[in-house]
Amino acid sequence: MEFIHALLEYTFLQKALLTSVMVGIICGVIGCFIILRGMALMGDAISHAVLPGVAISYMLGINFFFGAVLTGVLTAVGIGYVSQNSRIKNDAAIGIIFTAFFAIGIILISLVKSSTDLYHILFGNVLAVRSSDMWITLVIGIIILAAVYAFYKELLVSSFDPTMSAAYGLPNRLIHYFLMTLLTMVTVASLQTVGVILVVAMLITPAATAYLLTNRLSVMIFMSAAFGAISAIFGLFLSLIYNVASGAAIVLVSTFLFALAFIFSPKQGVLFRTIRARKAKSVLQDKSLS
């Protein structure tokens, strides 16, 4: 009740809530493609790699969105270049490139800003969301949802069967970089809500939860977005009540949802699997006894 009161009263809370719900939704949507393509590590990498972009934007006095997207995309290209042009495998290439970008980011930020700013970028500070940030998040959200809607077919087939999509002439590599660009934008939008370090949780956990509950990609995307939004609302609520970091609270709510699905999912859950296995066993035993 108090939460709702506070919500009605304080606009900073409204902005925080709206922004985190939007972030939950777009992370959930993009996250589905990230986990189905086995790119969870890539999500982690890009989210860290936006750090120097944020610092550079700050130095130049421009909106941090532009710098962040630039370094995010540069990282994706760098990783692709290293793994395609050497024997270094993709996961190692990711490890090399993103840590370098992250380190540059830390140095730049420690040069120009106080450590509290670094703290906020790393861990988020949703209560400090300004109107302009909220609008940027909304615009990013609309772009992401429109892009996924428009290219749903192509994203589906190139994620499921890249050989087929290449065989009929889809530009797989372009699609990959397109997705990386969307991923970077999502990361940037999430900076203030959950921060660089925990973005990857918002990308992966709601999507993985949905993955355990459905066998259809379209349904998975909607569920994942819903889980992202629910996590954002409850996380924010908990962070206000107990006065803990909002990003961490949001992430833990999504982890809790995942745990529920992991245990109780009718098809994939541990509980029903065990029950089914037991049943199958006892049927066999009954047969061998009779």
């Binding site: 290219f151 499921f160 069967d161 009929y168």
Partner: protein, 247 residues
């Protein structure tokens, strides 16, 4: 005349390691063609380089007298079953529906007509009862039939299948062979990678016998002879002989 497939001086390598050496052949339209050879002979590599899914070092490939890029939408490719992600959240009918994508272009979506056509293709392979299953919840043979249905849904002129008979039941194998022969009889061209010699002579019209180099190509009656087959499977045979000596 225009050939279904015409290949000249094809060389392919992986990281400097040669996988295919100077392949040349032409295949007429309307044939059911087996690409055979021992494991690691480069059969999958040949199929993928024909479709330009992997880069070639040298050579030209023409399909129905045109470059691959002009013909892509008319070519259906069925990958090796081991290359697929069977946990992907997609149902059987939606998998078949993917076959209609090449004909749709970027922004158009499949409609009711495309769904009905996909269902019809599922019926052809006898899998319509499973249309709502997730694709991982099928046997190997059933999965292969679903992918054949997807190829049918594409209304292609050229069909390329990589090892469709590996690890599948006999009913599925018979269904697939029957459909491939029907396609051939309709005038379509069908290329099938196959490493098991046992039924090669009854399944195919023409054989491409491969072991890094092209050993022989031609009608089954000419190629499927012990002295020629020996050449391709030679290394395996000498290996067996050596083992006999040492045992």
């Amino acid at each position: 005349m225009t050939y279904a497939m015409s290949v000249q001086n094809l060389f392919v390598s992986y990281h400097g390691e040669e996988a295919l050496h100077d392949i040349n052949f032409t295949i007429e339209k309307g044939k059911l063609v087996g690409i055979i050879g021992p494991n690691g002979a480069g059969k999958s590599t040949l199929l993928k380089s024909l479709l330009e899914l992997i880069p070639k070092d040298q050579g030209t490939v023409e399909v129905f007298g045109k470059s691959i890029n002009e013909m892509r939408k008319k070519i259906a490719y069925v990958p090796q079953r081991s290359d697929m992600d069977w946990t992907f959240p997609i149902s059987v009918i939606d998998t078949v529906l993917l076959g209609t994508y090449p004909g749709l272009g970027v922004f158009r979506r499949p409609n009711k007509k495309h769904r009905e056509w996909s269902y019809h293709c599922l019926e052809k392979v006898g899998m319509e009862k499973f249309s709502q299953r997730q694709i991982g919840e099928l046997s190997g043979g059933q999965q292969q039939r679903v992918f054949l249905a997807r190829a049918l849904a594409q209304k292609a002129d050229l069909f390329c299948l990589d090892e469709p008979f590996v690890g599948i039941d006999i009913t599925s194998e018979e269904t697939i062979v029957r459909i491939l022969k029907e396609l051939r009889d309709e005038g379509k061209s069908v290329f099938v990678v196959h490493h098991d010699l046992s039924k090669a002579n009854t399944y195919f019209d023409e054989l491409i016998l491969l072991n890094k180099e092209l050993i022989d190509v031609g009608p089954v009656s000419e190629v499927f002879r012990p002295e020629i087959m020996m050449k391709a499977y030679e290394s395996q045979l000498t290996f067996m002989k050596q083992n006999e000596v040492t045992v």
